[in-house]
């Protein structure tokens, strides 16, 4: 009975170890040795979307795929690749959705144009109103 209890204890404590046994990418939880490169990588990681927990950036997320993406970013930055080239590589595979930095495309131009349009409209309306008042 004592023996059995001991085995149960061992089993209970070894379970969490077993659950963690999946492998992961080398730089998922490890920073680059060069602080300048790590900062570059960090900036990029904060503007890339985690594909599993989609409200989070890969820098914030603990999802396994986010770990792989962080490692991808760090390994490529360490090789001297430009952060924007890495973003491009991911956008090529996952579409614009993976990036938090909006791009000007045939689909997104109204987002940039409409505020300018409204500002111009407000300017015209105000000028007409104040211009008329000043004229009298």
């Amino acid at each position: 009975m004592k023996h059995f209890l001991f085995l149960m204890l061992v089993a209970a404590f070894s379970l969490p170890l077993v659950a963690q046994e999946q492998s992961t990418a080398p730089y998922a939880y490890r920073q680059l040795d060069d602080p300048a490169q790590e900062e570059q990588a960090q900036d990029l990681m904060e503007s890339l979307r985690c594909l599993q927990c989609q409200g989070q950036s890969i820098a914030d997320s603990d999802a396994p795929i986010a770990g792989s993406m962080r490692s991808l970013v760090r390994e490529r930055v360490a090789k001297g690749e430009e952060p924007e080239a890495i973003r491009e590589w991911l956008v090529e595979r996952y579409g614009d959705y993976v990036s938090y930095a909006p791009r000007l495309t045939s689909l997104t131009w109204p987002l940039f144009a409409v505020p300018l349009l409204f500002a111009a409209l407000a300017f015209l309306l105000l000028r007409r109103r104040f211009g008329r008042g000043g004229g009298q």
Partner: protein, 182 residues
């Protein structure tokens, strides 16, 4: 004071109408949420090149050169830690029985866990490559497990199925596979 005009009747209601339209828009968005799947944009493009080591000792690994041998294939991205992968196991077995070659990519997995997984759920795979750091998964534009790609005999990705293959979806996969073989 002479510049002041009374707004026309319809203009008085305009803000309320705009607000009403906004409420309708938000309600529609809430009732019909956009799909959350992130599809790969590699459909119609060649398989990225990679060489994955064997995930199981004594079994072949997965080299992307097999995709250009003239035969269409299924590529199943899975992992032993993924619950939906267990759900789709019978469907993969049915596809393998129907003569569909299935290549496996096991993502962020361990040999031990994978061995148990294959013993419990069956092994429909011709080859299983170990994508331990998940880099091939990213190169494929896959955003989770399980996902299944159909690759034609020239190595062009023709179709992507996101999530587990359910029993009612097997005919679609089969017909997409046959189309890729033509």
């Amino acid at each position: 004071m002479s510049g002041e005009r009374k707004p026309a009747g319809w203009a008085l209601w305009l803000p309320l109408m705009i607000f009403g339209a906004f409420v309708v828009l938000v309600t529609l968005g809430l009732l019909r949420p956009a799909p959350r799947d992130v599809a790969s944009t590699l459909i119609g493009k060649p398989m990225p090149s990679f060489a994955l080591p064997p995930a199981m000792p004594g079994r072949p690994g997965l080299d992307s050169s097999v995709f250009t041998d003239g035969n269409p294939r299924l590529v199943n991205i899975f992992a032993s830690w993924c619950i939906p992968c267990r759900v789709e196991a019978p469907q993969l077995a049915a596809l393998a029985n129907a003569g569909v070659p299935i290549e496996g990519i096991s993502v962020r997995d361990s040999t031990r866990d994978l061995g148990i997984f294959l013993k419990q759920n069956g092994d429909p795979f011709e080859r299983i490559g170990a994508d331990d750091d998940g880099q091939v998964q990213l190169a494929l534009g896959s955003s989770g497990v399980p996902e299944t790609y159909i690759v034609d005999g020239k190595g062009i990705i023709r179709y992507q199925h996101i999530g587990e293959i359910r029993a009612e979806q097997v005919p679609v996969i089969l017909s997409e596979f046959r189309e890729a073989g033509e």
